[in-house]
């Protein structure tokens, strides 16, 4: 089953507006990451926030983490048409073989219109 549930499933906004996506997870984590996937392409790592951090910024991205609520949010400010993509949160855990793996959330499809 998916570790992360994201909402909204789909989001449509106008260029210049802010976009907020939320992610909830179930188990304890070392860190939480956000990835972007353009249509038909692989995933690109955007930002990582550690479990002892509450907020992190990178350019137009702002990520928050609330470990008591097991939730995170990704805010994209001043959105652009090029931000149109699917966004996934991911949490790290140990695989059956003892290595590390990422478990991805259900994703938010963001569409930024001109």
């Amino acid at each position: 089953s998916q570790q992360g549930e994201e909402d909204p499933q789909a989001l449509s906004i106008q260029e210049g507006e802010n976009a907020t996506m939320n992610c909830s997870y179930k188990t304890s984590i070392n860190n939480l990451q956000w990835y972007r996937q353009n249509s038909g392409r692989g995933l690109v790592h955007l930002i990582l926030i550690r479990s002892n951090e509450r907020e992190k910024h990178s350019g137009r991205l702002r990520v928050t983490l609330d470990t008591s609520k097991k939730s995170s949010s990704l805010l994209i400010t001043a959105s652009r048409a090029a931000d149109t993509a699917s966004y996934f949160c991911a949490t790290a855990s140990i695989t059956t073989g003892g290595g590390n793996k990422l478990t991805f959330g259900t994703g938010t499809q963001l569409k930024v219109e001109l």
């Binding site: 038909g40 692989g42 995933l43 996934f88 059956t96 590390n100």
Partner: protein
């Protein structure tokens, strides 16, 4: 970072046949992973490809259906065997980075994926 080449980028296959997907990395990496992304869905880990030993499969995935090879630290293949329409998905390989600032943070770098359609 690592540059990952995955091929084929897409294929259309007949039911009952097999397809082998290749993943080539431009640097030696410790961990390589194979994911499946069904249409409109999130990514699900199939297995971890271990260099010099058998792959480690996640619950719901078996070696007979998804045999994996990892002959060295820069290359891996995933075979989708005896395909059915339910195997139509995007298959992605990913790697954990070479030594550097991202090590230990579980950040992964992804190939562009293989879009498979089974008729």
């Amino acid at each position: 970072s690592a540059v990952i080449s995955q091929k084929p980028s897409r294929d259309i296959c007949q039911r009952g046949t097999s397809l082998t997907i290749q993943c080539q990395v431009d640097s030696q990496v410790t961990m390589m992973f194979w994911y499946r992304q069904q249409p409109g869905q999130s990514l699900t880990l199939i297995a971890t490809a271990n260099q010099g030993s058998e792959a480690t499969y996640e619950s719901g995935f078996v070696i007979d259906k998804f045999p994996i090879s990892r002959p060295n630290l820069t290359f891996s293949t995933l075979t989708v065997s005896n395909m059915s329409p339910e195997d139509s998905s995007i298959y992605l390989c990913s790697v954990t980075p070479p030594p550097g600032p991202a090590v230990g943070k579980n950040i992964q770098y992804f190939g562009a994926g293989t879009r498979l359609s089974v008729l």
